[in-house]
Symmetry: C2
Subunit: 311 residues, 2 copies
């Protein structure tokens, strides 16, 4: 194989109760990437469409993740890789834009090298892209991008990722307000100390969410979508957060929260028709703010990155 074209999906990290540990993968929002073997050693990025991002490989998350993989090869190779990135996921959206590029790059390189690395190793490499993007090798977006479905970061050192089962029918509505929330700001706003009584509620919800996924209990899944720890702070950075959440729940959503570090908000619904209503009320609520926004709809992607073409 000399060339591979992939779909690299958007992801939702945290999922309300699971700050820094839970994530899930989306079907209908994502980038495309074409990666081919090249005579030039190392990694080049010859094209980025959709967004203005650095073409210099070492300054691009796809390149940084790719180099981490190449540096771990046990045998030297006598060729390099050229990457084209067709971005649909906007950086700073909170739905895993950097993770999609980083995970996509390592997935494609691994395929072109005939799969020398395990999925867990690929997550490790992709985390180096996240380190470039936000200063920290977070795994809660790259893990679901690579594995699909719902994932849980059991520990980061050593990295231990758990793939959780998924509920059959789950529909996601996302609103992405066109404001900038820097991950670093969204981290800085969080307190270092949290109330024990809130932490207890939070881990009660994490436990019940994992149980809900295992038992396909969509109502319990919804009842677990509460965030007593992070949302009270980060929601301050997102105009009309409370209105969107309230309108979404009134429209029948199972739960609504901040995707990753925001500003995108997600809502889960148990049918496509409810999800459409939820998207509509999200839209109506945000139209009043004068802030431009995008709306996305998706189902859960069980597979993760998808190969669109290879030759």
């Amino acid at each position: 194989m000399n060339e591979i074209k992939i779909f690299s999906p958007a992801t939702i990290a945290n999922i309300s109760c699971g700050f820094d540990i839970l994530g899930c993968c989306l079907n209908d929002i994502g980038d495309e990437m074409v990666v081919r073997k090249s005579n030039q050693p190392g990694i080049t990025i010859s094209k980025i469409e959709g967004i203005d991002l650095p073409l210099e490989a070492k300054n691009n998350v796809a390149g940084a993740a790719g180099f981490a993989l190449l540096n771990s090869l046990r045998e030297p190779i006598h060729f390099g890789f050229d990457i084209e990135i067709y971005k649909n996921i906007k950086p700073g959206s909170g739905i895993g834009s950097s993770a999609a590029s980083a995970a996509g790059a390592v997935f494609a390189l691994n395929a072109l090298l005939n799969y020398p690395f395990t999925e867990n190793e690929l997550i490790q490499f992709a985390r180096e892209g996240e380190r470039l993007a936000c200063g920290s090798p977070i795994a809660d977006n790259v893990a679901p991008a690579l594995l699909g479905g719902f994932t849980l970061v059991h520990s980061t050192d050593p990295l231990q990722i758990i793939q959780l089962p998924s509920i059959d029918k789950l529909y996601v509505s996302i609103i992405h307000p066109q404001i900038e929330v820097k991950t670093s700001d969204a981290r800085a706003i969080l307190p270092q100390q949290v109330a024990l009584k809130d932490a207890i509620k939070q881990w009660g919800n994490v436990g019940s969410l994992v149980h809900a996924l295992h038992t396909n209990d969509i109502d319990l899944f919804g009842q677990s979508l509460h965030d007593y720890i992070v949302e009270p702070y980060r929601s301050q950075l997102i105009p009309s957060f409370e209105e969107v959440k309230k309108a979404s729940l009134n429209a029948g959503a199972l739960g609504c929260g901040i995707s990753g570090s925001g500003p995108s908000l997600f809502a889960f619904s148990k049918s496509e028709s409810i999800a459409k209503k939820v998207s509509q009320v999200m839209e109506q609520t945000y139209l009043k703010t004068q802030i431009p926004f995008f709306i996305y709809n998706s189902t859960i992607n069980q597979q993760g990155i998808k190969i669109l073409n290879q030759k």
Copy 2:
């Protein structure tokens, strides 16, 4: 039915990572209770053997729980109940002594009344016994005592208890040092605020423990048995805690922690032979302290309270 004899089991609350939400039920440690219909209305306690506890029903957790049940009856009854309690679980041991009495009373009354209440309602009544015992209607011991296996308190208001699956082969060693740790002191020593970074590790472990139970993954179960929040404080109240924990893990235990609010320590093992070794090293370690202690061994009780006889 006019009389019922039951086995009311000991329980382990918290299970390291799940402070205030997780609990499990034991097979080989527990009280026996005989409850019979009586001509005297209300509840009398005619006998308590094993421990010196109040015979006056309203001052006894079994009575308090029983009265909560009687007060919820939709139709008046023209008889009362007499309770005999044969205590094996010592109060203040941290393995659910008050929960066993409270849960046993409501289970027996419900049976003698031909089962008017659901298990969830019985948990509610039994919590009133806990309220008398420790000032707070905690559910993390009465729930596993009544339901068996592993339970998760998803929320306390409204009460929502989840019954988790259990791992097939799990052996428990318990050491009960003969010192007094009051639940109120064990609560008072806890900080009201905890570090967010520790809380994240804690809910990562709760999520992975629930996943481990669903997937019968005994090693992941063991890897989830860490407590970054409560153990650092409560362990100060238990002499030689670190030594017992270290010796248990060295002997092959999957994990070791404080049962409930202590002073009992539990360790899980994946075979009976390892569990025996763990009990031995617990014993050897504590023999050096000059503090008297009891050692118990048990498997997991999948059923909860057991009917021994009825007539």
